[in-house]
Symmetry: C2
């Protein structure tokens, strides 16, 4: 039992009285986290739902609805306590819950991720990177050692890991993900584009499909160009008919 105590717990959120929050609200909270972080950086202590609404470009009523579950603040005429709200959102989302991550794949993407401050800001500790390429193994990237994929199981048994970032080639992901889950990893951040099939009760997969985002942008650029052409044609017709 004493040994258990000495071991740093992973994956336990410090939210003993976690409010019940819908999945839709949960999905929106990271955005509030970003804005509140920025307000703290600016030294702002409180903010009205109206100001937050203008800043975030969502309606004030949506904001009140989203933040209602935290209770006890956001009074009429006073606004929200920025720090309190930030702390509550962090607790709810498990920021600083002590989750430990490893990155699988030390190519450009893996290195871009390990160099970003994204993990640290969210209280997730990146403790290793893994790759199969001999020329990468043993090197460091942002102070994180690149290890041989062969050592994966041994590493995970020596130091509990609950998150893995899948930044490896698509055709290797099924095998790697299977090994990670058997080694006790319960969360996979999947950049490969290949869908993974695990029991969602046991393993969480968060997929990042950058190509989908690119396609939406591509579509919008096309629509804009069309609308511009239509508007120009309409303006042309109008000026044409006026000149007759």
């Amino acid at each position: 039992m004493n040994e258990e105590k000495n071991r740093k717990p992973v994956g336990i959120c410090a939210a003993p009285e976690r409010p019940e929050v819908s999945q839709a609200v949960i999905r929106r909270l990271p955005r509030y986290f970003r804005y509140l972080r920025e307000l703290i950086r600016q030294g702002k202590m409180r903010i009205s739902s109206g100001e937050l609404s203008a800043m975030m470009k969502v309606t004030a009523s949506q904001i009140r609805q989203d933040l209602n579950c935290f209770g006890g603040f956001g009074q009429q005429g006073y606004g929200y306590h920025v720090n309190y709200l930030y702390t509550k959102i962090c607790e709810l989302l498990g920021v600083n819950a002590g989750n430990r991550a490893i990155i699988i794949g030390a190519g450009d993407l893996g290195r871009a991720l390990v160099r970003s401050s994204m993990f640290e800001k969210r209280g997730v500790e990146v403790i290793a990177m893994f790759d199969v390429a001999p020329e990468l193994i043993g090197h460091e990237s942002s102070g994180i050692i690149i290890r041989d994929m062969k050592e994966l199981e041994e590493f995970c048994s020596s130091l509990p890991v609950n998150m893995a970032v899948l930044a490896l080639p698509k055709d290797q992901v099924a095998d790697a993900a299977g090994r990670l889950v058997r080694a006790g990893v319960t969360g996979l951040w999947n950049f490969t584009g290949r869908e993974l099939d695990f029991d969602p009760e046991k393993v969480t997969v968060e997929n990042v499909h950058l190509g989908d985002s690119l396609m939406i942008l591509n579509y919008k650029i096309c629509r804009q160009a069309e609308n511009r052409k239509k508007a120009e044609a309409a303006a042309g017709n109008k000026s044409g008919s006026q000149s007759i």
Copy 2:
């Protein structure tokens, strides 16, 4: 007029009879694109809404509703023509519309993006990368030359560019985005995390907030760990009471 004809048009989608599709459906279409691509790769000619439903893990009725707008296929007992559906979705989303992209920032992220096949698969041509670092300028990454940011305006005036990928540091993005828009770029794919403020009628900004996705994963890992603990505690209590 003849000069105009010789110029390759950019940003014009080959969809003369574009169906009216809601924004919610548009947002879901890139996922169909991915699955249909995979079916084509497997040589599958047709698929029922039931099969597609099992594969994509959405209800068959949702699929019928989403794809209804394309009309004329998906008959009872026959299913969807995979190629036809893929072609229609590509037309609607502007795949191969000839959009040209440049990448701003030739760091790890910029290089990871330029090396991926994502752009090519969606018919977007990446024609250059830009950076301010003298040690990078003039080098190539995946056959794409890294140019000096100073040359940005000159480059965009010589070859129309309508998309820019913002993979540069946060504190440089406002200046770069302003220059890009003034140089005629109408679509910004923003990886910096900094929000950009342009008239949405004129400039489309598609933001990628990887940190938000990481936070959701972190949250779900925490919830899972809690649920597991609760279940273990409940099982412990149960076996305890049975042993009395």
